[in-house]
């Protein structure tokens, strides 16, 4: 009893400047066990603390409290407390104990999901990520949780703010897998297929020593999105891990079959292939995407016609794209013109469609700006690349490994290369 009160007093006293806080941190670490043992009666003490000033102490108490069992009626109060804490806590203080903060956020997420009010968790978790990450390139453990809540609450747009950051620093490979997988799904939801492909591609080609379920599911979606977006599934790039290359296709047979059928360009075959595997697609929750694959075949066929024809009757379009009636063809063409996928005009009197070239002349100010921004981005990226390259070539761990491996192959190499490097 006393210890908690004493601790609260300490927290109140020692939250002023960084040195005091680090002293407090060690005190808190020592009393971690005693806090846990009294988890259920910690809640009242929280009110004595100010989450913005005493963030670290508050965090420890909150973490201990949330690690204990939560009663139903306490839940909503708990949620409010956490939201308030996340909103007002000081970033410097919580970064001293990232594990604790993550664990609080996780239990918060579990609560939100249990109560089936995912949407209430979206905003707080976004704030939490921003406070926890040291830079926007840092992937925290909270990223996948946040995206999951976005997915569950269908707040895809909210997820974008996080997804648009480039991620380079990763703590846990599993976080990355999940982050990219959920990110891919959010992008699919928003029909940003090229972004979705990028995310799923990262999962599929990530280095892995053993196959995991996330990669398998991601590959299924990767196949479907590739078909929708590009009309074909690219083969594995050579940097894909051997495990993935060998095994992924075995686990995703219906999808590879589908891709093969798609490649033949025959509508009826594709449809039968879908029908035979429809249960599997349904079980994977991919049926919607599969249907989109089917309709993308029409589009692709029509798009191909624009490359070869200047004018073509709707009747012929229907024939070439394997649509049933000219009316249906007209509808598809119309929709594609609307979406900016083809450039064409329909002459309803003769039932003819004339296709035009892309009117983009690359002369407008917007285009120049767009190009300029791409150039800037790429320059920044290549600068980053060379700095990382420099960094790696000076990394002692890397050099010793390279030196050791060389020795095995060629004695001469070992003699000259590592010694030279080791002296510097």
């Amino acid at each position: 009893m006393d210890s908690v009160e004493a601790l609260v007093a300490h927290v109140q006293a020692l939250s002023g400047n960084p040195e005091e806080v680090s002293h407090l941190h060690s005190l808190l670490k020592q009393s971690e066990d005693s806090l846990r043992s009294q988890a259920s009666r910690l809640f009242p003490f929280l009110e004595q603390l100010d989450p913005s000033k005493h963030s670290l102490g508050y965090l420890y108490l909150l973490e201990a409290y949330s690690s204990g069992p939560l009663l139903e009626e306490q839940a909503s109060g708990y949620l409010l407390t956490v939201v308030e804490f996340i909103d007002s806590c000081s970033a410097e203080q919580i970064r001293l104990a990232p594990d604790k903060f993550t664990s609080v956020c996780k239990s918060f997420k579990d609560q939100v999901m249990q109560l089936e009010v995912a949407i209430r968790g979206v905003a707080p978790l976004r704030t939490a990520i921003r406070k926890l990450q040291t830079s926007s390139e840092h992937l925290t453990t909270l990223h996948p949780d946040f995206l999951l809540l976005c997915l569950l609450s269908k707040c895809y747009k909210a997820g974008l703010s996080i997804l648009d950051d480039d991620i380079f620093e990763v703590d846990q490979p599993r976080d990355l897998f999940l982050y990219c997988y959920y990110g891919g799904m959010i992008n699919i939801g928003l029909k940003r297929f090229h972004k979705a492909l990028e995310c799923l591609h990262n999962v599929v080609t990530a280095p892995m020593t053993s196959l995991n379920a996330i990669a398998v599911e991601a590959f299924k979606k990767y196949v479907l999105v590739s078909l929708i977006h590009n009309g074909q599934v690219p083969s594995f790039p050579k940097y894909t891990s051997g495990t993935a290359q060998r095994n992924l296709k075995n686990y995703t047979q219906p999808y590879t079959d589908l891709a093969n059928c798609y490649a033949t360009g025959k509508f009826s075959e594709l449809e039968t292939s879908i029908q035979t595997n429809i249960e599997k697609f349904q079980a994977d929750n991919n049926l919607g995407l599969v249907r989109q694959v089917l309709s993308s075949l029409y589009k692709r066929n029509i798009q191909r016609l624009t490359q070869t024809y200047l004018t073509l009757s709707l009747q012929d379009i229907a024939g070439a794209a394997q649509l049933k009636t000219p009316r249906e063809a007209e509808m598809h063409v119309l929709r594609m013109i609307q979406d900016g996928e083809i450039f064409a005009t329909i002459n309803q009197k003769d039932g003819m469609v004339s296709f035009h070239e892309d009117p983009e002349q690359y002369k407008t100010c917007e285009m120049i700006e767009h190009i300029d921004s791409s150039i800037q981005r790429l320059m920044a990226l290549s600068k980053k690349l060379s700095s990382i390259d420099e960094h790696i070539s000076c990394d002692p761990a890397y050099l010793t490994k390279i030196g050791r491996e060389r020795q095995r192959f060629d004695f001469d190499d070992f003699d000259s290369v590592p010694h030279k490097f080791l002296q510097t």
């Binding site: 490979p173 990262n202 990530a206 490359q307 070869t308 024809y309 003769d350």
Partner: protein, 447 residues
């Protein structure tokens, strides 16, 4: 000769059949086999060849022609030819294929076959004994001869695998380049019949590497063999080059493999399918050596000239007429379709090339097809990016499409930028993961 009498009556009876279904084939067969004149096509064709290839080619025709009269004629000729040789296995096969349809003269002659077998057994023992004797005496030249004889023996009896092995074994005992050439030619001969064209090209290059000057006939033979090997490997351009390089010395010296008429046909078709206009002019039409070959097969000569002169309709007509014959050719049959499509595509591409706009009706009549069919073909070629044009299906006009260099460059640049960005980011991410994993493994090792 009884056989000849029978042969005359046989085809005579089949005459009506030919005038109906095989009329085309008969006419070209006759023209292809110039020596045969107006005689029966199969016989004339057969007379171009000697040795085993004659039998094999005739049997191939019998298998493929799908016309009983022609089949029987081919089988009859094959039967006669085999009886001159010693291959009892093949003899039995042919006799069973004839199945008594050519009368008693062409039934299985069991006694003859058994006699051949018995003699073969004895001869084989004798040759093997001799070879063993040479081997113990270690006389290089004799061992080579021994192996060579054994190879010849196996070849004559149709045991091609063994023949091949024995011919190859002589290689270790070759002392002069003449021996090497001899060995190579033997191996090539067997390999062609075995259908192992990898060996053919190997041994052609071996023969060509011999230090001594080769005589013109051998060079021509090697060129033909190399051409065949490339043809089988579907490298039509290289095949065309080899056939075009074949010297006129070939004459009738290589009839156990190829007739000069074949050189013209193979070379001409391969050249048409793979050469561009200027190459066609300089390497085929102006090639004096090859002109001699072309004279033997006027159709091929005409169609090449027609192609060059852009008379596509008559060129394609010639091709169409030649087709049934070529399908019966033992080497070309697999490639006829590919070569024909390539030639046709080339013709279409060449036709459209100089124009800004082409009326599809005119073009269709030039190619003797319908507008709809032509449109489909053009569509495929445009999709393949072989013709830069677009079809105005409403007015049935083909418009050349001049790609705007500036726009495509912009497009490509932006595309490349996007790809680069994506790849680099993915790469950095992977590098980080690997680094992380490495660090983690190092950390666990320390603990």
């Amino acid at each position: 000769m009884d056989g000849d009498d029978e042969g005359v009556t046989g085809p005579m009876g089949d005459e009506p059949m030919f005038s109906n279904g095989g009329g085309d084939g008969q006419q070209q067969r006759g023209s292809k086999a110039v020596m045969g004149g107006e005689q029966m096509d199969v016989e004339a064709y057969g007379s171009l060849y000697t040795g085993r290839t004659k039998v094999i080619r005739l049997l191939f025709i019998a298998d493929r022609c799908g016309n009983e009269g022609m089949q029987l004629e081919a089988l009859r000729l094959a039967y006669d030819e085999i009886k001159k040789g010693e291959d009892s296995q093949l003899y039995r096969e042919v006799a069973s294929k004839i199945a008594g349809r050519l009368g008693p003269q062409y039934d299985l002659d069991q006694a003859w076959a058994d006699g051949i077998d018995r003699r073969a057994e004895q001869r084989k023992d004798k040759l093997e004994n001799e070879l063993n004797g040479y081997k113990t005496n270690l006389i290089k030249e004799s061992i080579r001869m021994g192996y060579n004889d054994l190879g010849d023996f196996y070849y004559a009896h149709g045991q091609l695998g063994d023949a091949f092995k024995n011919y190859v074994r002589t290689r270790d005992y070759c002392t002069t380049s003449k021996h090497i050439i001899h060995m190579c030619l033997n191996v090539i001969l067997v390999s062609i019949e075995l259908g192992q064209f990898m060996h053919v090209s190997n041994y052609v290059s071996k023969a060509e590497q011999t230090p001594d000057m080769l005589d013109a006939v051998t060079v021509a033979k090697l060129r033909c063999a190399a051409g065949l090997a490339y043809l089988e490997a579907k490298k039509y351009k290289l095949a065309a080059r080899k056939f075009l390089e074949t010297g006129p010395e070939l004459g009738n010296n290589y009839t156990e493999v190829i007739a000069p008429q074949d050189v013209a046909t193979y070379g001409g078709l391969c050249a048409l399918s793979s050469f561009d206009r200027s190459e066609l002019k300089s390497k085929v039409i102006d090639n004096i050596n090859f002109r001699n070959f072309l004279e033997l097969v006027p159709e091929v000569r005409e169609l090449i000239h027609d192609f060059y002169a852009s008379h596509y309709a008559s060129c394609l007509e010639y091709l169409e007429n030649l087709k049934p014959n070529l399908l019966l050719d033992i080497h070309l049959h697999d490639h006829v379709e590919t070569l024909y499509t390539q030639i046709r595509h080339k013709a279409i591409i060449q036709y459209t090339h100089p124009f800004i706009s082409v009326d599809l009706h005119t073009m269709a009549s030039a190619f003797k097809t319908g507008v709809a069919g032509l449109e489909k073909e053009l569509e495929a070629l445009i999709t393949d990016n072989q013709i830069q044009a677009r079809i105005d299906s409403h007015n049935k006009i083909l418009y050349a499409r001049h790609a705007d260099q500036r726009n495509t460059t912009f497009q490509r640049v932006l595309q490349t930028g996007v790809e680069f960005e994506r790849d680099v980011r993915a790469m950095l991410l992977r590098a980080n993961l690997i680094k992380h994993e490495y660090n983690q493994r190092a950390a666990t090792r320390k603990i």
